[in-house]
């Protein structure tokens, strides 16, 4: 018996012709699709210029965090990690000294890299403050962090506006 390769065992010729036919069929059907799109009244442009408004539901937050007063002494304690959940612009305008900036996005979950970084830091807990609006971005971020396995996560009630006043005093 002649030795043979597994490829020739299944038959090289029909395999190659199948790939060739697939390429032809794919090309022709793509051409038909493009032509139909050109002819139909509700056809779409081949190259989209503006971003699509993508609507995705907000990620479900499973954790629970406790609120603390803006005058809580733990806010200035270096043993706690302080996180600012507001946007970059707001953080540039003002922030509590030594606070880390993790802008909270209602549609995007916090990246796993950030979670890993926080898990790697030895701290008594995490205190988050946000924009103080309803819903408060600080509270939402704190809940999300708690849901991802971080312990002793707190949020500042009233957020940055209240905290700004108390820190200034």
């Amino acid at each position: 018996m002649m030795p043979m390769r597994a490829w020739t065992f299944f038959g090289r010729h029909w395999a190659l012709s199948a790939f060739r036919d697939a390429a032809v069929a794919g090309f022709v059907s793509a051409l038909v699709g493009s032509s139909v799109n050109l002819l139909r009244p509700d056809g779409i442009p081949f190259i989209q210029k503006t971003e699509y408004a993508i609507l995705v539901p907000c990620p479900e937050i499973k954790g629970e965090a406790r609120g603390i007063s803006p005058k809580d002494p733990r806010i200035g304690d270096p043993a706690f990690i302080l996180i600012d959940a507001r946007s970059r612009e707001d953080v540039t305008a003002w922030r509590v000294p030594n606070a880390r900036s993790i802008p909270y996005d209602y549609l995007e979950p916090v990246s796993s890299g950030v979670i890993k970084d926080l898990l790697g830091v030895r701290a008594k807990g995490i205190i988050v403050y946000g924009d103080g609006e309803s819903p408060d971005s600080g509270r939402e971020l704190a809940r999300e962090l708690a849901g991802k396995g971080l312990r002793n996560v707190f949020y500042v009630e009233g957020g940055a506006p209240v905290l700004h006043g108390s820190v200034e005093k």
Partner: protein, 201 residues
């Protein structure tokens, strides 16, 4: 794999076996080389057994009709509403914006062609190549969306909301089953002419 032209130690082993010597030479027995050759032989025997099962082509017939039906059903809403499908493609955040519409316009027609070819039995192996290729793409897109943590609908059959048809590993597994079916049709499928020949003779 098997070498052609040049004699292999496997040939010597086989020839000696035919002449009544039998088995691997003593010096080879139990060595990694002999185990490798034995593994190759077992693999080849397995392939022969799989290939020679006579019912493959009959099993492949309903499989390809089912797969074709799935693709025909899937392409329907995409062809009717390309704008909606383009939004579904964009939601995956996998392609640059300039390619989104191009894919949304062409992909449903490739699905239609593959589905029709499978159902009607025209160039079924080529259709199986198309289907398997698309399934690999869909699975990659789903895994990417899951990696990003996107809470969205897969957009495979209808642009329903994420609440009714969310993407999950189950969706990936379902596509994996269809990929397996596509590969099965690729290796063992039969086109219309061959099926008719088998029915008439």
């Amino acid at each position: 794999m098997w070498r052609e032209g040049r004699p292999c130690c496997m040939d010597r082993w086989r020839n000696e076996g035919k002449q009544g010597v039998g088995g691997a030479p003593k010096a080879w027995r139990g060595t990694s080389h002999s185990r490798k050759i034995r593994g190759r032989t077992l693999f080849r025997d397995f392939l022969i057994r799989v290939r020679s099962w006579p019912w493959h082509r009959w099993v492949a017939l309903p499989v390809r009709v089912y797969l074709g039906g799935v693709f025909l059903y899937a392409c329907f809403h995409k062809i009717l509403d390309p704008h909606r499908f383009a939004i579904d493609v964009a939601t995956y955040q996998l392609l640059p914006l300039s390619f989104v519409n191009l894919l949304a316009v062409t992909l449903p027609w490739i699905e239609l062609a593959a589905g029709l070819m499978l159902v009607l039995g025209i160039r079924t192996r080529a259709a199986a190549v198309l289907v398997s290729g698309m399934m690999v793409l869909f699975m990659a897109a789903l895994l990417w969306a899951l990696h990003l943590g996107l809470d969205m609908s897969c957009g495979c059959f209808a642009s329903s909301g994420a609440e009714s048809d969310p993407i999950s590993l189950r969706t990936v597994a379902r596509d994996g089953v269809w990929l397996g079916m596509g590969l099965f049709v690729f290796f063992f499928g039969n086109d219309f002419q061959a099926t008719r020949r088998r029915l008439t003779h």
